[in-house]
């Protein structure tokens, strides 16, 4: 697997498992609701979270800042999708 690096204030670092998890979910199904994200998360080992399921959305927010993921709000629901950069990253996972 190619080492995927993202820029942070502390310098470049590899993606964490949870970050890869979110990208992997959206690679499987793009532009999906939060509920669908959670359902798909159960399929991937790297999505196993140590405390709470909401972590995947905290990670989603991080990835939005990194321009890898985007979300939109429609009728009381959030939908999650990969950006172009996110698509490029997700192909390498």
């Amino acid at each position: 697997m190619t080492k995927l690096l993202i820029k942070t204030l502390a310098g470049k670092r590899p993606l964490t498992d949870l970050e890869k998890c979110m990208l992997l979910i959206l690679k499987t199904e793009n532009n999906i609701s939060s509920q669908r994200v959670l359902k798909l998360a159960k399929k991937f080992n790297i999505c196993a979270s140590c405390s709470d399921r909401s972590e995947v959305f905290s990670i989603g927010e991080k990835l939005i800042k990194k321009n890898l993921v985007k979300r939109r709000f429609k009728e009381s629901e959030y939908f999650w999708a990969l950006t172009k950069k996110g698509e490029f990253f997700s192909k390498k996972i």
């Binding site: 609701s33 939060s34 509920q35 959670l38 405390s51 709470d52 399921r53 909401s54 959305f57 927010e61 979300r71 709000f73 009728e75 009381s76 629901e77 959030y78």
Partner: protein
């Protein structure tokens, strides 16, 4: 009601989150830190920064030791223990429970632990793991569907084989206070001991371990505004002496001798035999500052304020037919928090959480959404996750109103 300008004592409120004001309803996870706590921790690192005098022998270390023992005395009075020797420093409530689960002297005839389904994973898991290693049995007692405990059911579960009953004083999910004194009496009648998880209780209520006849009690400093990484295990003096060694090493021994390949160890008396290695001095000193701060605000006033605010939140939220509470707050008053979920499974709590974070014009509202480390209880109550609003003295009715208005707006978007 109200603590006026208390927010000014909490520097984090000066910070804007994406130009928005912070409304913090995640106090059951951790309480924000007041200035005196930050100052106390900073003062230790700035002006002392050394070991305690029970290790080193110089003026700075004696100063540290004096502060540590003052903190121990402060904790003793905070929970009304009979002696400072009954106070053991831990990293948090979880570590205190792990210590009891690993060290409690189970007998051949007394080898059962009674737990309620209300408990946090931090209670379940230490006992679960130790039950496999130490071969004791766990008995589970479910609550009623309204979140209360059936004491008759609990009484039946406690037998002459019960060594220990472990129960939360204030559930981090239901927000209800449980009758630990009555439970302690039930346990003692059968010759068992009681361990009380006070992690949620002590931030908003006055604890009295003697009045409540508690044998073991744990809490975390950070949940009362103290530093992270410091907690307390209280154990009655005569019980401490019978606990098996747990975390041992430097600072726990009277003497270690090796003669002809045989090691002979004599441990220090409690509490020191349970406090191995360099302690979290800054945390211990910060914990005292947090207790001083709570006491300065008047604990009875804190209880009254937080209970009234919790009830106010329930009174506002009960008007939403879309939500279901995890306890019956109509008959049992919430004590410091309330939890709910959407009846319609197609509406996501996580989306509402994001809505509170990103869609409000003037506010960023922090709540907790998830299973709150209590999966068995959530499954029992019919929802894998819930949203929890937990309150502290810096919260206001106006903030609750913002939350309620936000919920209304969120649900309006749903066609």
């Amino acid at each position: 009601m109200g603590f006026g300008k208390i927010k000014k004592e909490f520097p984090v409120f000066r910070k804007k989150i994406r130009e928005k004001k912070l409304i913090y309803f995640d106090n059951a996870c951790t309480v924000l830190k007041p200035k005196p706590v930050i100052k106390a921790v900073n003062d230790y690192y700035q002006n002392l920064g050394t070991c305690s005098g029970d290790r080193s022998s110089h003026h700075l270390s004696w100063e540290v030791q004096e502060l540590i023992e003052k903190s121990r005395e402060k904790v003793k009075r905070f929970i009304s223990a009979s002696s400072a020797k009954e106070i053991i420093w831990t990293r948090n409530a979880t570590e205190g429970i792990n210590l009891v689960a690993a060290s409690f002297p189970f007998g051949a005839k007394r080898n059962e632990v009674v737990l309620t389904l209300l408990e946090h994973h931090s209670v379940f898991l230490p006992f679960y793991e130790q039950s496999k290693r130490r071969h004791f049995k766990i008995k589970m007692v479910p609550p009623n569907k309204d979140g209360t405990l059936d004491l008759n059911l609990l009484e039946k579960a406690i037998t002459k084989k019960t060594a220990l009953v472990s129960v939360t004083h204030l559930s981090n999910v239901t927000g209800l206070v449980y009758p630990v004194k009555e439970i302690a009496i039930l346990a003692h009648q059968k010759g068992a001991k009681i361990l009380v998880d006070d992690a949620q209780f002590v931030a908003s209520h006055k604890e009295d371990v003697q009045k409540n006849q508690i044998d073991f009690l744990v809490f975390s400093g950070h949940k009362i505004g103290g530093p992270t990484g410091i907690g307390v295990l209280y154990a009655r003096d005569f019980l401490l002496k019978n606990l098996l060694p747990y975390n041992i090493g430097g600072g726990t021994i009277q003497s270690v001798k090796v003669k002809e390949n045989k090691i002979k160890v004599q441990y220090l008396p409690p509490p020191f035999c349970f406090e191995a290695g360099i302690q979290d001095y800054a945390g211990i000193i910060g914990l005292k500052a947090a207790i001083d701060f709570l006491e300065k605000q008047n604990q009875a006033k804190i209880t009254n304020f937080i209970e009234k605010l919790s009830l106010y939140a329930f009174e506002q939220l009960k008007n939403f037919p879309e939500i279901k509470f995890l306890a019956n707050y109509q008959d049992q008053k919430p004590s410091s928090l309330i939890s709910f979920y959407f009846k319609n499974k197609k509406i996501s709590l996580y989306d509402f959480n994001l809505f509170l974070n990103y869609r409000l014009k003037d506010y960023f509202v922090a709540v907790r959404c998830g299973h709150h480390c209590a999966q068995p209880l959530h499954h029992f109550l019919g929802s894998p996750v819930s949203m929890r609003l937990s309150f502290f003295i810096y919260n206001t009715k106006k903030e609750v109103d913002v939350f309620v208005q936000s919920l209304e707006n969120f649900l309006k978007h749903k066609k």
